[in-house]
């Protein structure tokens, strides 16, 4: 759908500004940025903005975003509400008891202060971004002489950030299945004895069992470790014999007492 055709009629106010908006739509870095743009475009003084003009154009912009089928972020709506609130306060007749509008009671003040501060940081950001950056315009030596790296030490001061610590924990938790994580208390853990009994009963039904068969229903780290320990224990007790076809291949085991495979 071409939004432009639709909007020409509906938004006479935006006529002529249309292309400019279409181009800059995604360039506004939030409601403050948009407000600053509107103030600049209308050649207003940031300290004495006409709320009526700004509010009107701000709302038109949001409407345009809707018309262009762009989702309007909540942040933009919050600002719209703020603008309307200021505007309504300006329009309401003052109570008799209330003092006439002074500098302090001007409802625009808070917004003006925020805008001024935002403008400062926006410009500071541009200044910082214009610097020659390490790794972009400026480079340090990248050579890593093997002699230097060979000598590793563990005595020097440590360099690590708190975020790295938390992130390490977060990544770790992602790696571990949730259920095994909640099983930290040793009392709740799967016991090796239970696992031994399970394996022994399985071996009564089948002559050979593959390691994978034992863990396939419950493939958690804990289960694998406990099963493995159980197998080692069974082997130590000479109750089973372990086979592996090739390096890193599947591990098979058979009852040590099984008659037909006893000689293998």
């Amino acid at each position: 759908m071409t939004a432009e055709a639709l909007n020409r009629e509906e938004l006479p106010l935006l006529d002529g500004m249309h292309e400019q908006y279409s181009v800059h739509l995604d360039k506004f870095d939030g409601p403050m940025d948009l407000l600053l743009h509107l103030i600049k475009k209308n050649e207003l003084d940031i300290c004495d903005i006409s709320i009526a003009v700004i509010t009107r154009q701000y709302l038109d912009f949001i409407k345009l975003m809707k018309d262009l089928n762009l989702e309007v972020a909540g942040d933009f709506l919050v600002m719209a509400a703020t603008l309307l609130q200021i505007k309504s306060r300006q329009l309401l007749p003052l109570d008799d008891q209330e003092e006439p509008e002074t500098e302090e009671s001007d409802p625009r003040n808070e917004l003006v202060r925020r805008l001024q501060e935002y403008q400062l940081y926006k410009e500071a950001g541009m200044l910082i971004g214009a610097r020659a950056l390490l790794g972009r315009e400026v480079f340090a030596r990248t050579a890593s002489e093997p002699v230097l790296t060979a000598v590793q030490n563990l005595e020097g001061p440590l360099e690590v950030s708190l975020f790295e610590l938390v992130d390490a924990f977060r990544v770790l938790l992602l790696r571990i299945p949730a259920e095994s994580f909640h099983d930290v208390a040793p009392g709740d853990s799967l016991s090796i004895a239970d696992c031994i009994n399970e394996i022994l009963s399985l071996l009564q039904e089948k002559d050979t069992v593959q390691f994978e068969d034992l863990v396939k229903d419950e493939f958690t780290r804990e289960r694998v470790i406990v099963t493995f320990l159980a197998i080692l224990e069974l082997c130590r007790l000479k109750l089973i014999r372990i086979f592996q076809g090739y390096e890193h291949g599947s591990i098979w085991f058979v009852p040590a007492v099984s008659s037909d495979l006893a000689e293998v």
């Binding site: 050649e43 009107r56 935002y118 950001g125 020659a132 390490l134 400026v138 950030s161």
Partner: protein, 201 residues
Amino acid sequence: MSSELSAIIESLIFTSESAISTDRICELLDEFERDEIKSALTEIVACFQGRPGGFELVEVAGGWQFRTRPAFHSYITRQIKTRTSKFSQSALETLAIIAYRQPITRAEVEHLRGVDCGGVLKSLLEKHLVRILGKKDIPGRPLIYGTSKEFLDIFGLKDLKSLPTLKEIQSLDEIPQFERQEELQLEPEKVNLEESQLPLE
């Protein structure tokens, strides 16, 4: 380069993995006086500034490092890929706010910028430009953020005091603003708007 001490310091800076601080140089060369070391450093800086070579000695993030001159970056990038991509406006704004207002909470950054900053903050944390300083002693104990050593390092700043002062920025901006003021001409429009197009009516 006249003194041997300067040469020794040069070799230390040259082989250091990252910028090396004056304190650290003094610690490593404890047979020399701090004053001697400081004047040797000044000597090296002057020496490299005096010859228009490919690199120079600069003080960044509280330490000394040899860095190439920005002028030659187009030649260097023929050889190595640039690692740092351009920062987005939102990343720079957020960084500026954190740099000037630290320690600061996420809510304070968002109030100033008027938008959610979670994603930007996360990516700044991941790039190690911003770090978590701890928690603020107010209800909810929100995390407080500040800039890191890497921030100074990457942006080539000696310390936080080397940031352009906000007042400088303000004064740069004052002139055009003043000019704009005189060109005000919104009266007819204003009346019209208030009468006919108020959303609240």
